[in-house]
Symmetry: C2
Subunit: 184 residues, 2 copies
């Protein structure tokens, strides 16, 4: 139960919204949720097999040959509720950018500037993606009950990205010699 509990949570969660094939679960995880949670094929299929064996999901033959559409069972919903109530197992921090800044004295200013530029570009790209997702969410009437939760999730990403932009600006001013600024 401890094993793959986190993957099971994600898979059951997706199925709690509606039936899906393994492929579609992967797609769902790769889209909105993908900005906060990652799963790969190699985990999803074995997990589905296990969940089926435990009676937490049911497989029906899909529209295509060899495809199976999974549905969550009542037991599956109960399990999901349990899993959601468990305290999230913290992922050990591994922030490559901050590792580079922390040991920044051993690097050259040009390298630090690149790190900060990349960080800024990525944060802006994420904000743009979130804006696009929000626009899409507004038109999806079918999932109206879920929208507040999805919106809250996206909001976390937006605030984190904004904090990152603030940090980049502050850090540029603090660590980079003014001469390297492109202005004037």
């Amino acid at each position: 139960m401890a094993r793959q509990a986190q993957t099971a949570t994600a898979v059951l969660g997706v199925l709690s919204i509606g039936p899906a094939t393994g492929y579609e679960i992967r797609q769902a995880v790769a889209n909105v949720l993908g900005h906060f949670w990652h799963e790969s094929f190699g985990q999803i299929y074995p997990c589905l097999t296990e969940l089926e064996a435990d009676g937490l999901v049911l497989a029906a033959p899909g529209e295509r040959a060899n495809s199976r559409r999974y549905e969550i069972t009542a037991a599956g919903r109960a399990r999901l509720k349990m899993l959601l109530a468990e305290p999230p197992s913290p992922q050990p921090p591994r922030n490559g950018t901050l590792l580079r800044i922390f040991f920044g004295r051993a690097a050259s200013p040009a390298e630090l500037a690149t790190v900060l530029d990349t960080q800024e570009t990525e944060a802006r790209a994420r904000l743009a993606t979130f804006a696009a997702i929000r626009a899409e969410l507004a038109t999806e009437a079918a999932y109206a009950e879920h929208v507040p939760y999805w919106s809250a999730t996206i909001r976390a990403g937006e605030l984190a990205a904004e904090a990152q932009l603030t940090w980049v600006a502050e850090t540029r001013a603090a660590l980079l010699p003014p001469a390297t600024l492109p202005t004037s």
Copy 2:
């Protein structure tokens, strides 16, 4: 080179500040840097052995029996500079809290409230820790050259924690029924 490259960066980075035993490296990583980067014993010792074989660090007998104090070599500094210049390999997102919020419709409001409370407590604790580290940094004259970099790293943590507090407040208002508020 790809293998354990990230661990090697952290280990060489610590040694670029001063000589240390494997145990001390672990300590260093567990303290300030530990809020942004994690390494375990099982990685550090084999990594040191490899680095020594590659001539990037030198081992001298330490003060205690069976202890070895490692020093970075010129080649080690050069390698560190290279590693710091490489783009950080992104860690796949696995935010347990956001996973729980995203599927929040399948959970009860009480469980959501707990998740948010935990998030808030953790963020506040982190801010307190960062304040303590800042106070300590101010008194350390020996590492004055590194302080701007360490300070920038801590600042990233502070901004992230503050963003998290903002998010918790917003999300409570958006997702939790007003009746569950403890006020009046």
